[in-house]
């Protein structure tokens, strides 16, 4: 399915979400790029407010035009947070899992995947992950 949003619209939704989060936190005005600089240094500090999932979720909700139900996992290995996030989105009206995919590698066994995952280190990673989620969610909504 063709993505119905331009990269510019996606970046606008991310920026609008960032401004919303700053307002809600009554925080001083600083850019998402500045936040990401701190994020890269302190992402595994339990006191660091990790806003990445919230930015991605709200940006996707804005672009889809309705709030979805979400589950987000910060993927960890034994040495800590890996920088990877996995997202599961559900349509709250129909309870359909919008991030669900199934594959077979051998033509016999079917493997089910409920989540869409991606690593976030830089701003462009956020854009890429929003695009990946939009692509999957819009296809699932179109099939409903």
């Amino acid at each position: 399915m063709q993505l119905t949003h331009t990269e510019e619209q996606i970046k606008q939704a991310i920026e609008a979400t960032w401004q919303e989060l700053l307002q809600e936190a009554d925080a001083e005005d600083y850019s998402l790029e500045e936040y990401l600089e701190h994020y890269r240094k302190y992402w595994d500090d339990p006191d660091f407010p990790n806003d990445i999932p919230e930015i991605i979720i709200r940006a996707v909700d804005k672009l889809i035009g309705k709030p979805l139900a979400w589950y987000c996992e910060l993927v960890r290995d034994p040495s800590g947070f890996t920088g990877e996030y996995s997202f599961i989105a559900v349509d709250p009206q129909t309870r359909k899992c919008l991030t669900y995919r199934q594959f077979t590698f051998d033509g016999v066994n079917v493997h089910y995947f409920l989540s869409v995952a991606g690593t976030v280190i830089y701003y462009e990673d956020i854009v890429r992950l929003v695009i990946k989620l939009l692509d999957q969610i819009q296809s699932a909504l179109a099939d409903a």
């Binding site: 339990p46 139900a69 979400w70 589950y71 996992e73 960890r76 034994p78 996995s86 599961i88 559900v90 709250p92 129909t94 309870r95 359909k96 899992c97 669900y100 199934q102 079917v110 089910y112 995947f113 409920l114 989540s115 699932a140």
Partner: protein, 132 residues
Amino acid sequence: MEREKIVAALEEAFAEISGAEYEDEPITFAEFLESFEKFRDPDFPVYWIPWAVEEAVEELTGRKFGWHEDALKDEWSYTGEFSFICVDPETLKCLTAERSNGSCTVGVVFPILSIDDVVQVVEYFLRLVQQA
């Protein structure tokens, strides 16, 4: 469903998942859970616990489901809580999604530290599948 049947399905699933790991000195799923509760070792194969739940549910219902599981951690170690998300591949419905007070949650979280806890979790999923 009787508890014995559920425990048998869990033990069978656990034996399959743990594979050759405990071949020389076999341990039961109940014993495995006890050692998890005692040590909360960060290297403990903690995901065997939700996988055993999922396999037992599929065995007892005769159906396959899409699953996502997460072993919850605090700053130091596993908390003994697990979150589960279950999707029916036929309808794509998220069986664990729940709407209340205008909001919708996707996953369910259970503490699992004993064989009694795990039996209750399997019973929950069996009810969920039956309702669906």
